[in-house]
Symmetry: C2
Subunit: 247 residues, 2 copies
């Protein structure tokens, strides 16, 4: 198959994860089977970026208006912008990203999961994303993942279930008064990593207990308090540029 041995782990990661791997396989004119083999054997070496966003009042039903998302959905608009920040590139979708939206604005919590590898129909505008979430919330949810549109899944359950799924990933929780993120400089976040963020209401004590029990490190990324989606843009860039390893 002629895999260049010098094309190691970091080269693949620099080439934007699985997307890059698929591109390399295509450029090498591999057969479909060879390409499938390459991706299945090497994907475990690629880091997966997980973003967990807590929507404190975010609706768990599709009964909100696309004409007034902020006012009718418990600030689902914030989560829509987080989705865009996590996935969209200038010419495509980040394949190595997974987003968990923890919706706490219902009688029982729900979680919507978006997987970059199979995600379709995501446009960068807020309304389109909200429409996708509306569809997902119309799916009847149980404790098991149910599929909505391509790459979007929904289930009942909140933060504890999500962090249990992400056991094994390095967890960083973003908070204004956390330790400077540079204090984790040079750390190995080459495996799976999970960033946990709150919405405009931050993170409630109940969720804090869960986060602490999961062993997350609490970090801050700068002197100015930013919106969650802007933090995600920064985390993606830090991973793209190996910024933490380079400090």
């Amino acid at each position: 198959m002629g895999i260049n041995p010098s094309m190691g782990y970091y080269s693949f990661r620099d080439a934007a994860g699985l997307q890059g791997l698929h591109r390399i396989a295509r450029d090498w004119r591999m057969t479909h089977m060879d390409r499938k083999w390459l991706v299945s054997h090497l994907r475990s070496h690629l880091s997966m970026r997980n973003f967990v966003i807590i929507g404190n009042k975010a609706t768990t039903t599709p009964m909100f208006s696309l004409e007034d998302i902020p006012g009718t959905s418990g600030r689902l608009d914030i989560l829509c912008r987080c989705v865009t920040a996590a996935f969209v590139l200038s010419h495509g979708i980040r394949k190595d990203v997974c987003v968990y939206l923890v919706l706490l604005g219902g009688e029982i919590p729900k979680t919507v999961r978006l997987d970059g590898e199979t995600l379709r129909h995501l446009n960068p505008d807020e309304r389109t994303t909200a429409a996708l979430l509306k569809k997902a919330l119309a799916v009847s949810a149980t404790p098991d993942w149910a599929s909505s549109t391509s790459g979007i899944f929904v289930r009942t359950g909140g933060l504890a279930n999500v962090l249990a799924d992400l056991k094994g990933a390095r967890m960083l929780c973003l908070r204004e008064d956390g330790a400077d993120i540079r204090s984790v400089a040079g750390c190995d976040i080459s495996g799976d990593v999970a960033f946990i963020l709150g919405d405009h209401m931050g993170i409630a004590p109940k969720e804090w207990t869960v986060i602490e029990q999961a062993g997350a490190v609490v970090v801050s990324i700068g002197p100015v308090s930013l919106h969650a989606d802007h933090c995600i843009v920064l985390m993606n860039w830090m991973m793209d540029t190996n910024w933490l390893l380079a400090i």
Copy 2:
């Protein structure tokens, strides 16, 4: 007045520009007149962050639908997200930011200017920003700035006029194939700075000529090609953390 001489330029900049200056003045229990004096005498020492975004097909009329902004406005949605990225903080608006939206999708170009110091009614959701731009585009425009809602101005004219206004600011143009931004490391961007960005269509040759003539340095901020609003988030963070000076 008891101004602490150790509270020099960088301290003010770290405190988020004019906003920080006003806060300091308030904390010191200054009288209204003293506060006005302080701000008027020191504001020239504060850097102003200008973001110039070129909307290649962006409409110059208010005849677009808030229910389908991407499809009816020549991608004004991209410019809306740029506005949000430039201004919004977790608890407020960046006062030391000015955004110029260069709209080229009409018979004659128009420019909308948003000034952080007086900007009002800006919410982080895309639709609210689009509604503010709709109002601005309904104002009858001449080559002189006409006021729309608080902090938003409009005039006819395109990029050449904007860059003439920004003469004296250090200009950086963001392009995928530009030099690594770290190559301007340690440079003095303590005065006014202007970042020039294209929308999804990039920057057309005609605008390139104008940009080159204005003496802008063409830089890239990472290995992955990002949306304009995400670049703005990163530039704001780089300025917030004095990242370029620290390299």
